[in-house]
Amino acid sequence: MNATPKTSADTPVLLDVVHASKSFTKGDGGDLLVLDDVNLTVRPGEVVGLLGRSGSGKSTLLRLIAGLSKPSGGRVNYLGKPVTGPAEGISMVFQSFALFPWLTVYENVALGLEAMHIARDEIRRRSLAAIDLIGLDGFESAYPRELSGGMRQRVGFARALVVHPNILLMDEPFSALDVLTAETLRTDFLDLWSDGRMPIQGVILVTHNIEEAVQMCDRILVFATNPGRIVSEIAVTIPRPRDRNDPAFAGLVEQIYVEMTAKKGRTASRISPASGSGIDTILPRVSSNILAGLLETVAAPPFSGRADLPEIASELTLEIDELFPAAETLQMLRFADLEGGDIHLLPEGIAFAGAEVDERKKLFARHLLAYVPLAAHVRRVLDERRTHAAPSSRFLDELEDHMSPEVAEETIRALVSWARYAEIFAYDDETGQFSLENPT
């Protein structure tokens, strides 16, 4: 994994992750693997992107590197020494900003230095310098609640930079911001980085936004889920500053979409039909409205049954965290097929898009029972019982043999919402009961 564009193998290594894995203990005592055998090397001057969907372990990896949690296997070395706790020289920018609301901008920034027991004058000088650098001049005495999201994240950046880290870790730092603000912050950051005005030597960026990864990174590691692992590494050689309208840019984005929807081998896909033979398939929570909307859009011109995923993403302004689960659900239900970064509708998908409400529900119900084993399983149990009712805990227990309680809960929720749309069985949230009865 050392094929890097800007640096060669003999430059010093900032960070070295070797065969790192992480598992959590499940409710029944078994282990749940969330990160499997990850290798990663960061050298000075690099921006490395960790790209993947939620649950692919990229944030877990970032926390291993930050020393906030320990790997279950393998090791993380920073400047040749193992990371055993939060290391001096590695700092982090958080998705939710993680500012202390009771401290002013200045106090938030100074906090990291105070913990380092530096002379007060020095703290003041460096904090003001960091505030200056990041464009927060004049906001020193403001409290976070007075600031907009973009300004808050600037504080997050200033706080991370003031400790003069070697490596800056960024955990989806722009995903809580609106599109325009995120873009401004990204370009400001890249300008500082290109000019070498920040004290940092390397950056690791966690993101689920493909364009953002291509715009910012020198190398992109694509993560897959279940368990979280790196499936491919893509070098970005487009010269900076990068233009989104550049054909090379668009080409690379397309290429990554292809990687992430590849059908064969170890795919980035979260629900692969091949493994969907049992009831243990994880179901993503996708609203039937999104499914119907996606089918309609792809069926209609200009796509007429086949669409490029990047195009459809921008057409519907869907992030990959929303688009991929929807597309894969359609694939699982045999309404559509995904290949080479494209989605194309199967005959049933086209039929669905052209149908009326009742017909759609019937079609959806048929496919749900035929291709989602868990749906068929629940229905069978309800049919067999004399009361035609069963508690959801019964199915949760079964699922938890294969997945974490949270994921099992999500899977049941997804099933409930699809089953309600398809009207194949009912669910009462207050009693937690599945039943065949219609609500009165």
């Binding site: 590695i90 982090m92 939710s96 609301p101 990291g112 976070p144 706080r159």
Partner: protein, 575 residues
Amino acid sequence: MTSTRTAWSTASRGAPSRFDLIAFVLVVGLFAFFAAASKGVLAPISSLDVTPISLDPAQLPYLVARSTLRMLAGLLLSLLFTFTYATWAAKSPRAGRILIPVLDVLQSIPILTFLSVTLVFFMSLAPGRVLGAEFAAVFIIFTSQAWNMAFSFYQSLRTVPTELTEAARSFRLSGWSRFWRLEVPFGMPPLVWNMMMSMSGGWFFVVASEAITVGPTTVTLPGIGAYIDLAIRQKDLHAVSYAILAMLAVILVYDQLLFRPLVAWSDRFRFDSEPGAPAPSSWVLDALAGSRLIARSLRRLRGFGRMLGAAIRVAPGSSSPDVAATNAENLDRIATGVLATLIGLAVWQAAWFLAPDLGWQDLLSTFGLGAITAIRVFALIALASLVWVPVGIYVGLRPKVARVVQPVAQFLAAFPNNLLFPFAVAAIVNFKLNANIWLSPLMILGTQWYILFNVVAGASAMPTEMRHVSNNFHVKGWLWWRKIALPAVMPFYVTGAITASGGSWNAAIVAEVASWGDQHLSATGLGSYIAHATTDGDFHRIVLGTVTMSLYVLLINRLLWRPLYYYAERKFRLS
């Protein structure tokens, strides 16, 4: 030390400002108050008999000051307890499994029992001095405040946002500074709110504890409670009125000088970042914040805190985190083991203490008495709900009225209503009413306000759009109450009812027995059972009555209130 730019240091430089003057007066006044009030604390106990309390109203300021000092001491003790106990429970899941249920039980124990069983012990701590009795009074205030403060802080510690903790850790803040810079600030707003809530209990029991008889031991501590006790014995309604007026003044001052500033100050620790309701304000806080004098001393204090932190912190890098973690783990295991042993011993001790003297007959009869008190509490809560829920909704939907009613209701909740008992008792004696029925309302006199101000808060929080929708669809009358108003205030109402119920159980011990001069009234119930046992100094019956009441409170909480609360939260919470 001038490098941090904070709100405190924004005071204008140069000549002392008017804020300095106000702050100075406040501080000097505070010192004078402490000096005057604590004068009698170290006096030999015989002085209590030599200089008996008289009903002269001129004595009231001094008596009130003594009571207030006890309140403050109790509050400080509660804070200390909160920061240690709750922190241990939250940081160590193993200890938490024991500590939290223990807290739950402690919370259910009627507060006066704490006094009756510990009074002798405290008196022996400082033999022959008033100090021992003072300890006991402070302890009872502590017991009326500490539990829910600890609960609130425990909850806060458990819900500190993960990313904030991660940020603090990744910037390598030590455990000590994480506690003071992240965890305490985060828990501050709910803690201050709970302090305010427990104040009412505090005032109630400070009044009750200043004149108490446990068997042969009678304590009369100079304070407003002793004053009113004397007034009752001498049937002096005028004196009772003076005491009530003095109490009103004290609560007002307490509110203005202590809680209003605390609430306004703790508002900056609110975590939800959206600017919502107008920030609470306090003129005292403004004066203190505006004063350079105060700002300088605070900075000094902060410097001291840092030094303390540096002294406590284990030198970084001196041992690997793994070793430190193992050590902490072992320590935790030992401490938890000791704790479990102690609790086991206590239970065994209690059983051994009760078994030989009390038979099944006693057990059954106390349970019967408990049922009678339970019926009283429920009937009164139902009655109060019937009155205050509609009123609360009416008021809450009218912001102008609500702004007036809300503080009044909170004020009434904080007022120690046992000061009002004499009026009621005098009336019952006068009109020869049935004590079993007419003493009951006293139990809810102070606690009903929790229902009112929670419902007001709930109705005020009802979104305008929801109101518009009901207007738009012409939802009126009973349908409106059933489908809109009542569900909307449900979670708030349940919170209020839980507090009211807990308070009423506690008040039962004081409310089921009352006297006026030489007339003694008593209602049948578990409260009067404990009260009589206390006066007789019969520790077996005190403990049995207490255990029974705890059981009732715990069971009612577990089987009724808690499920109801979660149900209301899940089903009706608007968010």
